[in-house]
Every structure is written in C-alpha cells, then in structure tokens.
C-alpha cells in the first residue's frame, strides 16, 4: 500500500482506541459527569429552597407591614378615643370641682353673713353698754366737778386769807 498504509495496523489502532474510549468513559467521564450533575442538582435544590424562603420572607414582610399599618391606624384611633375620653373626664372633674367650689363659697358666704349679724348684734350690745357706761361715767364725773368747784372755792378762800 502507498504511504505505508497497513489495514491490520489501522485495525490495531482502532482496537486500541475503542479500549481506551470505553475505559475512559466508564472510569472517568461518566463518574465525573455524574458527580457534577449531582452537585448541580444539589445547588439547584438549594437555590429553589432559597427562592422559596425568600418568597415566604417577602410574604411575611408584607403581612407585617400590613399589620404595622393597621396597628398605626388602630393606635391613632385609640389615641383619639382616649383624648376624647380624657377631655370628657377632665370636664367632669372641672364641673364637679366648680360645683364643690360654688357650694363651699355659698356656705362660706352664708356663714359670713351669720357671723356678720352676730358681730353686729354683739357690737350693738357692746355699744349700748359703752353708752350706758359713758353716761354713768359722765354722771359720776359731773358729781366730782362739784367737788372740784368746792375745792376751787376753798383754794380761793385759802389764798385770800393768806394774802390778807
């Protein structure tokens, strides 16, 4: 054959390659590919789980946000209610206090009036007594004046006697 082509050697080369290809496929290619496939599946599974978890987390987040929004509204509503209640209660307290104060004032005024009357009565009595006493004193004092006149007369008489 030209170029030293030999059919037997070609077949021997083919046999060699068939043995090699079979061996490499069974010993190396398939096990490695299987491992890569398993790892890919593992990571795919992980990825799916992560995506699932992320979706769940997103859902939970939305729920919480919705709850938070509701809570805010609820708080605002309660705040308003409490404000109204507080206003009402404080008004009640103020009214009660006002009533009590009015009652106290009225009572005080009443008492003051009574005392005033009482004091006036006492004062009138006292003034009467003082007048009587003064009158008596005046009367007493006019009697003494006579005595003073007498003494004065005596003095004059005595002085006249001495000058003589």
């Amino acid at each position: 054959m030209p170029l030293n082509i030999d059919i037997v050697q070609i077949l021997l080369h083919m046999l060699n390659f068939v043995i090699l290809a079979g061996g490499l496929t069974l010993l190396l290619f398939k096990p490695v590919k299987k491992f890569i496939g398993e790892r890919q599946q593992y990571f795919e599974k992980q990825k799916q789980e992560n995506e699932k978890n992320a979706a769940e987390n997103e859902k939970l987040k939305e729920e919480y946000e919705a709850k938070l929004r509701d809570a805010d509204a609820e708080i605002a509503e309660k705040k308003e209610k409490v404000k109204i209640e507080t206003a009402e209660t404080s008004k009640e307290y103020i009214d009660t206090a006002q009533e009590k104060a009015n009652a106290i004032i009225a009572e005080a005024e009443n008492e003051a009036e009574i005392r005033k009357v009482h004091i006036l009565d006492s004062a009138q009595t006292e003034i009467g007594e003082l007048v009587i006493e003064a009158t008596q004193k005046l009367l007493t004092e006019s009697a003494s004046e006579e005595r003073v006149h007498n003494l004065y007369d005596e003095f004059i008489k005595k002085t006249a006697a001495e000058s003589h």
Binding site: N4, Q9, I10, H13, I19, L20, T25, L28
Partner: protein, 275 residues
C-alpha cells in the same frame, strides 16, 4: 576562614564547568557523523512513512513504532483513570480542590462542546470527543518523553507520537466517520445515513489533517535533531512548542469537527409546516 573555603569552592566549580564546556565544544566542532549513519533524506522518509524501523508486537507481528506508542499511552491513561476513579473521585467535594477542578474542567469542556455543537443528542458524542481529545493530547505529548524502543533490526528508536503514523490518523478519521454515520442512521434512519454518506470526504480530510499537522511538527523536530550542532537549546523550544501546540490544536480541531458533524447527522428532520 569559612569565607576562604567557600571562595575556593566557587573557583573550583567554575573551572570544572568551564572545562566540561570546552571539551564538549571541542567534541561538537570536531565530530563528524559516521559514513553509515542514515542520511537526512532517509531519516525524513522514515519519519513520514515509518517503513524502515519496525517493532515486534509481542512477537506476533512487526508494527510501526507509533502503534507501540499508542498502546503504551492507552495503558498509562487507563491506569491513571483507574487510580483517579478509585482514589480521587470518591473524595470529590462540593467545593473542589485544584486537582478536582482540573478533572471537572476537562470533562465539562468536552461536555459543553458536545452540547453546543450537537444539542439534540449529547451523551455519546461527549464521551467520544472526551476520549479522543484526551488520547490525541496525551499521545502527542508522549513524544516529548523520548521513550526508547528496540527495532526488529536491533536499533534503539525514540517512540514517536501515535498520530504521526498515518495508520493511526486513518484509524481516528474513519472511526469518527463511522460513529457519525451510525448516529445518523440511529437518529434519522436510512435518510440520516445517506445524508452522512454525502460527506464521504470527511474521513479522508480528518485523517490527513491529523496526520499532516502532527507530521509537520515531527519533520521540523527531526530536522533540528539531525544536526547535532542544533541540538542545544533549540530542540527545547522547537520540540516542546511544536508538540504542545499540535497537541492542543489537534485535540480541539478533531473534537470540534466530530461534534459539529455529529450534531448535523443527529439533527431531527424538519417537519413541513402545513398552511
């Protein structure tokens, strides 16, 4: 004291190396090849045809040295694959180490190539191009080892790359073609087979491309080796560079061609759209 000794030693080593270099240079300058040595023409012809030096295969048949190379490479690759299968693959981790990354990258490279070029059927062609790629790459690199064999005439010969033998290249080309033909018949019946048969030039082009590529490298290295004065430094560059490049390029070319033609052969028939 110590400094004196080390200085003396350095001088001694320098003189010794210089002496060796001078003697070697004198040998190269004065050496003439013996008259009975094969001429460059004979060496080149044997490099191409392998018709002079034969090696006995288990004493049964005299074969080209490349066939012995092919069997040695196959044996080494199978043992390596077995060792990897037993010791390395069971210890593979989810986060790969260096060795695992190399093995996985190798498998994925051919697998992805098969998927890209033949998306309809990938399983078989991926394994095929993986095996062919590994075989072509390592058998071409095998040449660099320069393992010696003994010819039937009793001479020593460096075992060449298997694909540098035209018989190996023809075997690869025809086997690839037959595989594609079989895949065409399995996928699309007789029509698929006929479609592949149209490309009857494929095995010839594939075989001779492999052979020619490997041969060109071999001839250049052979030429360089022939002249002993060129046998310093230059073979390191020429031999290693040519061999490595051929190994890579031919692996890629054969794997790509095989997967592309396989992909065409197994492509499902287009169903005519009814309006």
């Amino acid at each position: 004291m110590k400094k004196k000794i080390s200085k003396r030693r350095a001088v001694f080593i320098f003189v010794w190396l210089a002496l060796i270099f001078i003697i070697l240079a004198a040998i190269i300058a004065l050496w003439e090849p013996p008259a009975e040595t094969e001429s460059i023409k004979v060496a080149m012809k044997d490099g191409v045809l392998h018709d002079k030096n034969k090696i006995s295969l288990f004493g049964i048949i005299d074969v080209n040295p490349a066939l012995i190379s092919a069997y040695v490479v196959t044996a080494v690759l199978l043992v390596a694959a077995l060792l990897i299968r037993i010791f390395a693959i069971p210890k593979f981790k989810m986060i790969p180490g260096k060795f695992q990354t190399v093995i996985e990258a190798l498998v994925e490279f051919f697998d992805n190539m098969a998927k890209g070029n033949s998306p309809h059927r990938t399983g078989f062609i991926a394994a095929y191009i993986f095996s062919a790629g590994v075989y072509i790459f390592f058998s071409t690199m095998f040449e660099l080892l320069g393992i010696q064999g003994v010819t039937t005439a009793g001479h020593s010969i460096a075992l060449p790359a298997p694909i540098a033998d035209i018989n190996a290249a023809i075997a690869m080309g025809f086997m690839t073609y037959l595989m594609i033909l079989a895949a065409g018949i399995v996928s699309n019946g007789v029509k698929g087979g006929l479609k592949v048969l149209k490309d009857f030039s494929l095995p010839i082009s594939m075989s001779f491309r492999l052979f020619g590529a490997l041969l060109s490298g071999l001839l250049v290295t052979e030429l360089v080796y022939y002249y002993i004065s060129l046998s310093f430094v230059l073979p390191v560059i020429v031999g290693v560079l040519f061999t490595s490049l051929h190994a890579l390029i031919q692996t890629y070319v054969l794997a790509t061609l095989a997967s592309v033609f396989y992909g065409e052969a197994v492509e499902p028939k287009k169903v005519k759209k009814t309006e």
